[in-house]
């Protein structure tokens, strides 16, 4: 490119510009433009100029996007593990299978006691008098049992004989207590009983009261007639 050609091209460019004059505008161009500019509103310019609109648009977008995003998470998200519910739910009805209230034991004839009526397994300790009374009652029961066993062949008349025995015991006991009151432990019991039953009853009663086997000195009426006093039977 030499200078002469450059000048020629500059002249040609000027001629080209001259051949393309600026066109005229229509008569209402400015009026229409003013109207359009006055009413021009774009979301972009509003977003740029007003921060409240930006916040509102953001909330709107989040709200719109929340539903499909939640659906996608529901479909493809991690599987939820069902956690067991912790709590107490009382039974609506009590199962009464195999349970009868107030069942009466047919064999014993006694009502089965409930847990609320159970015996007190921690009773207060017995006093000496209570203990002695209990021991005496126990020995009395044993005497009764042994006596009935000894009288088995005559079981038909056991009850009347037992009554006579008790009467003899009472008499013997009276005599023994009388003798004790006379304050001689080794003295011979004065006894008006003369038969074997009275002597046995006397010895039995002595054992019941003291728990000691009467010796010949203590009970001159001897033991031989009172085999029911032995525990070995």
């Amino acid at each position: 490119m030499n200078l002469e050609e450059e000048n020629e091209l500059d002249l040609f460019a000027a001629e080209l510009r001259q051949a393309h004059p600026q066109p005229e505008l229509s008569d209402d161009f400015f009026e229409v433009l003013q109207t359009r500019v006055r009413h021009s509103w774009s979301f972009r310019s509003a977003m740029q100029s007003n921060p409240l609109i930006r916040v509102a648009a953001g909330l709107l977008v989040m709200t719109i996007a929340a539903a499909p995003v939640a659906a996608l998470f529901y479909m493809f998200g991690p599987v939820k593990v069902e956690k067991p519910k912790l709590g107490f739910e009382p039974r609506q009805e009590i199962s009464d299978e195999g349970w009868r209230e107030d069942v009466v034991h047919e064999k014993s004839g006694y009502a089965i006691i409930g847990p609320e009526d159970e015996l007190d397994f921690d009773p207060p300790p017995l006093t000496a008098a209570q203990l002695l009374e209990l021991q005496q009652a126990s020995r009395m029961a044993q005497v009764s049992q042994n006596w009935k066993a000894a009288q088995r062949p005559t079981a038909a008349v056991a009850e009347p004989a037992w009554g006579a025995f008790l009467s003899a015991c009472e008499e013997g006991a009276f005599q023994m207590s009388q003798a004790q009151r006379n304050a001689f432990g080794n003295s011979k019991l004065a006894s008006s009983a003369s038969d074997e039953a009275s002597r046995s009853a006397h010895a039995a009663w002595h054992w019941v009261l003291t728990g000691e086997s009467a010796t010949s000195e203590q009970a001159p009426l001897a033991w031989e007639g009172a085999p029911f006093l032995s525990d070995d039977r």
Binding site: L9, R17, A19, H20, F29, F30, R44, S45, Q48
Partner: protein, 184 residues
């Protein structure tokens, strides 16, 4: 028209000088209309596009930072709008359509010879390919600096210089071939 200077129309308009925008429209609207017409737009469409340029300038006014020439700024917006308009219409504008748009607004020429010469020049320009026509439009008719043309067309500035030179020479030769007896 320079930008960034105290007399920048948009700077003055942002500062509250409402007359600055009217001055900008008065100066740039004919140039922009000529640009759209020479690109192939119909006269009504061209004015509509020119108004769109100013509406977009107003909408982007809060973000406007003066840098470079204001006419280059307006022409860049005009070019983007023209590209959008072509995409919406879905068709390419031929050189003949560009010629039709130019014929509607003939230049004020005095003599018949000059009129013939101007018609020939416009016809020759309209027959150029679209890229060359746009290059000459910006660099020659709008008289933008090569740097701004380079930025608008997104091509190196050296390429702009060489293309303008060869395009002008080719266009000149083409017009001379139409009138062998005359010289530019």
């Amino acid at each position: 028209m320079s930008s960034g200077a105290p007399d920048d129309y948009l700077v003055r308009f942002k500062a509250g000088d409402s007359a600055a925008f009217d001055e900008l429209v008065s100066e740039m609207a004919p140039r922009l209309k000529g640009y759209f017409l020479r690109q192939g737009a119909q006269p009504s469409t061209a004015e509509d596009l020119v108004q769109n340029v100013f509406v977009r300038i107003i909408q982007n006014l809060p973000r406007y930072q003066p840098s470079g020439r204001l006419d280059a700024f307006c022409l860049r917006i005009a070019r983007n709008l023209w590209i959008d308009n072509r995409r919406r219409s879905g068709r390419e504008f031929s050189s003949e359509e560009a010629m039709e748009g130019l014929d509607v607004q003939p230049g004020p020429v005095d003599s018949a010879d000059r009129d013939d010469r101007a018609v020939q020049l416009r016809a020759a320009l309209g027959k150029l390919d679209e890229e060359t026509r746009e290059l000459l439009e910006l660099a020659v008719l709008q008289q933008l600096p090569y740097k701004d043309v380079s930025m608008i067309l997104d091509i190196p500035i050296g390429t702009v210089k060489s293309r303008v030179y060869y395009s002008l020479r080719r266009l000149r030769d083409r017009v001379q071939n139409l009138n062998p007896g005359t010289e530019a």
